[in-house]
Symmetry: C2
Subunit: 269 residues, 2 copies
Amino acid sequence: MMLINGQAGQAIDARDRGLHYGDGLFETIAVVSGRPQLWTLHLERLSLGCRRLRLSLPEEMLSEEAHGLCADQAWGVLKIILTRGPGERGYRFSPGRCTRLVGFQPAAPYPIRHYREGIVVRLCTTRIGLSPALAGLKHLNRLEQVMARAEWDDEYAEGLMQDANGNVIEGTMSNVFALIDGRLWTPSLSQSGVAGVMRRFILERSADLGVETHEAPLSLEMLRHAQEVFVCNSLIGVWPVSRIEDAAFEIGAVTKRIMTEVRPYSLMP
Amino acid sequence: MMLINGQAGQAIDARDRGLHYGDGLFETIAVVSGRPQLWTLHLERLSLGCRRLRLSLPEEMLSEEAHGLCADQAWGVLKIILTRGPGERGYRFSPGRCTRLVGFQPAAPYPIRHYREGIVVRLCTTRIGLSPALAGLKHLNRLEQVMARAEWDDEYAEGLMQDANGNVIEGTMSNVFALIDGRLWTPSLSQSGVAGVMRRFILERSADLGVETHEAPLSLEMLRHAQEVFVCNSLIGVWPVSRIEDAAFEIGAVTKRIMTEVRPYSLMP
């Protein structure tokens, strides 16, 4: 089921700048019991992205379409794409036009062993670019993630990406947290990466739980010596990490506590 | 006029990975007297890009469609987009599918003063990312160029972009050359940038002309003290640069010689 500028449809204008340049943003949202989860956080991130890219956000229409599309759905994924719309040739744009896609897809549950036993994570050889102009945004330029994901088939549940300096930034489709000396670290995203909604939710909830958090560059060496590691996104919720290459991790108390917090707002079983 | 997978059309599948991830490549080609110019070089770059992105190149169909579409056209632009086609949710892909767009648009001539007097070039504040996985490719992830081009209206004909280290990489839509101590320098593109077809043509032709060329990192300071500067792409051919901020340049003998070489293969008046 997909709405394109409010109308049921399956196709977009071939001149759309989303196709030609990746000139747009997206959100991927868990739908549980008829409602898009963490809607306010998703909308805030989209709004922030629109300000940085100088896109206008059709907030009320999006909200109406998203909630309408999900109302009868028990469990699945809502994807929103907002582009700068069809354009003339060239990078230059005129303000005002945009294309919005709102689509719902039912989703199969993720394997329950991912949550119970933790996942094995690959260290990707594809590096994530240093791009301060785009850092933090969930934009449509995702080729690095596509290339990183092509490094494996089913041997891993996720792959971690480092930047050119060797800092760990994120998973191909998730953010990463590590418990180091009692603090919950997550990489700072000022030079690359996507500022995930679930990442933000966990940072905020951790503060409420009295778990100290820290956003800072995270080296692979630090990560390897962490007491607990997990990855997160809006759909999977939290997957504990049991192994990254030859470094093994337990599913510890902090991870379990965060999983309990996240469960109702994600597609966690 | 546009062909989508060989059929006249105006719309693409909204699930196309070109839209969702910028998962594809493109070529922009000058059409003169019914023929796409520098076709072999364009196809070679596309082929190289396909190998790096693990896309299959429908070479014969593309060639047939491109030449057919241009046959009755005197002057204009051929744009080819090749994407990984419609996909399921997620970055992972299966081999084999792709979407090809081949479109022709008549083009107005560029202002003749750009060629006679040279252009004034902006130094963009938007930096180009360091992304070795994608460097050199003419891929669909072009948000940095969109943001850089949004820095001005009509005050400049082009804007130069630097990487995070301050090296000059390219224009928003062109490559850059500078005559420094008798050698024709152009930035190396191992960490970012697009390896332009006209850039390659000029490098090859310069060798034939006995002009020594050099691909290496190019600092802004070196560029400011160059004897001649020009930008190039497949459509504009060569635009001499008369000014970058407070640094002024003459249109010298080497630039004029290169312009003569390039004219028949571009949209130069």
